[in-house]
Symmetry: C2
Subunit: 369 residues, 2 copies
């Protein structure tokens, strides 16, 4: 059996390109992971997600533990078989959604008690349970449970939060145990405080993880604060482990983070925007709901070869968005995921060939190649 | 250019199998036409509709004239190019939806005045406008405008309605004019009154149409009333023209109508049911919302080769139906349309080989082959 292993193929400045080898297939990095919240990348069939160029998707522990339930997914053969996606899956730990979606949260040393947003039932998530759920799902890359305070927060609040998260990270790693071919990632916290971020990373490296994520960003801070934080932490991250920036982001966020040495990303933006009638293009996002597209016979993006751009006009997409037709969500989600994967492929190629700076300059002039 | 032409390939009792030749491709009959209301078969991409086995889809004049507008669709190259479906399209005349969806209807000799359900604007539909809209859409098979009274209605009401519909049918045919490769169908009315139905048919045959539809059924009468009406009218319909039963129906309705000599069908049932979590099977419809499917690892139908049955369990479909995920509508619509096309293919094969009675007997025992 292939072990979980990161292979660095090339660098350009701080930027890296490589392969994460897993028993379920390789992940080309920099990688964008479409979000498959509840066992489906919304409005997409699994083979269509693959056709956009995705090597890995993200599943949400919080959603899946509440419905259909981790033990049920395990009985049904695991999340890959259940959802029809046979390639790698990364799962988060559920902590972030507990904070953002559930009610009546009570955080103790042991874990977090909350009410399900689905049926109001009382639920409990501890580091041990978060890892058990991810193991039951059959997740290839499992994330430690951490506490993620909302920004802005003062340094004392962030530090206290980190101390709890560190103890939870140790318990998570312990609970993960030995799972050949599977990986456990730690999550660097510390808000926008460089000193805390570096301490957080050092603490995690002492425990030892298969990869390191940067968490607690994309929660309200500016892009430059995000980049400053990455500048403070990324150079210190182990070169032989994948680096994952959680929940990010806009194309320019991803590109800036790749320039700073990040390898993996996930974000609901392309899928959620697609369901809201927005289409990403090299020149920026189009709102297809806008009346100016009603008679526009051209495609979203003439340079794009996705099904939405090959077969349909902006006028058609405008019509189906306005009419609330499901095909609008299907086509725009496909287009947006395809656009994100075009960016990732362009970044990988540019890093391999040492052309990253000029690629990024062209991107900022509205060219994705 | 291929002309519009019906070729009878075989019969078994009253049942017929044949080909409708059109410049956009042949339609194998008996044929089921998925409903593509507003320029999309809901929750399906056009190539997926084709993959279910459909040769022709139906478009709704009423919906398309209100949004995005017939003149706009014409400017954008016609409904085929606009919607990405390059094979034949049949359009209804809009009359039925005016009655069922719009407000403030006023029917005069000239036509029907109504308010759009989309934006409340005042609209007018006459036989001439109905045909103009269908021509602007580029419809391959265009239907005359008729008035369709709700059942039950007494004979006098139906007769009066027919007299108006007949005058409208003449004006529709006149407005259709000469459109090589395109067809204009008349619509037999007359409620459940055999004498009125036959008179209606005779009147239409005197005008002369490329095909004949039976309208005004599937509006509340029982299946046996529907079949009695078909028994009264179908044997008198011209053998060398396609026969279309509008808005029908359940699989057993379609099979009973094929046994009585009908060639073409359309119905929202497979698509609408799919969006509501229902899946057709040879043994009847399953409601995937039902908790008994939560742990069912089998497919909807082991004999079905659609994507929903090949890749997903009932448990998964139950989960995504309950979670309100778009993939539920996508997969169940695909399955249901595929099931309908399996039935049509089975009927065509059974008629060709003179095995229709035994095929129907097997169907009623829960076997579709």
């Amino acid at each position: 059996m292939t072990d979980f292993r990161f292979e660095l193929l090339g660098t350009d400045g701080q930027a890296r390109t490589g392969l994460i080898h897993t028993p379920r297939g390789d992940i080309r990095t920099p990688a964008f992971m479409p979000v498959g919240t509840a066992g489906t990348v919304k409005a997409m069939l699994p083979q269509s997600v693959r056709e956009t160029g995705a090597d890995v998707i993200l599943g949400n522990t919080y959603h899946l533990m509440l419905r259909p339930g981790a033990e049920r997914v395990a009985r049904l053969g695991g999340l890959h078989r259940f959802s029809g996606w046979e390639r790698p899956i990364l799962t988060d730990s559920g902590g972030y959604q507990v904070m953002s979606l559930s009610k009546l949260r009570k955080i103790t040393e042991e874990g977090v008690r909350f009410r399900s947003h689905v049926d109001g039932s009382e639920q409990f998530l501890s580091p041990e349970r978060a890892m058990e759920v991810q193991r039951l799902l059959g997740s290839d890359i499992q994330m430690v449970l951490d506490e993620c305070p909302a920004l802005p927060a003062d340094e004392a609040r962030i530090e206290k939060s980190w101390e709890l998260s560190l103890r939870w990270a140790r318990r998570s790693k312990q609970a993960f145990g030995e799972q050949p071919g599977h990986a456990c990632f730690g999550i660097v916290q510390g808000g926008t405080y460089p000193k805390l971020r570096r301490r957080s990373l050092e603490d995690l490296m002492e425990i030892g993880f298969d990869g390191y994520a940067v968490g607690g960003l994309a929660v309200g801070e500016s892009q430059s604060e995000m980049f400053d934080t990455l500048d403070a932490v990324a150079p210190h991250m182990p070169a032989n482990r994948p680096r994952y920036l959680m929940g990010v982001g806009k194309p320019s966020d991803i590109i800036g983070a790749v320039l700073r040495g990040i390898d993996m990303f996930d974000c609901v933006l392309p899928t959620r925007s697609g369901r809201n009638g927005q289409a990403f293009t090299p020149e920026g996002a189009l709102n297809l709901r806008n009346a100016r597209f009603a008679d526009d016979s051209g495609p979203i993006d003439p340079a794009c070869s996705c099904p939405a751009c090959r077969q349909f006009s902006r006028a058609y997409l405008h019509h189906v968005v306005k009419a609330g037709e499901i095909i609008a969500a299907m086509l725009l989600t496909w287009h947006n995921l395809f656009f994100y994967q075009r960016i990732m492929a362009g970044l990988r190629q540019a890093i391999s060939s040492g052309q990253l700076q000029s690629w990024v300059a062209r991107f900022h002039q509205g060219v994705v190649d």
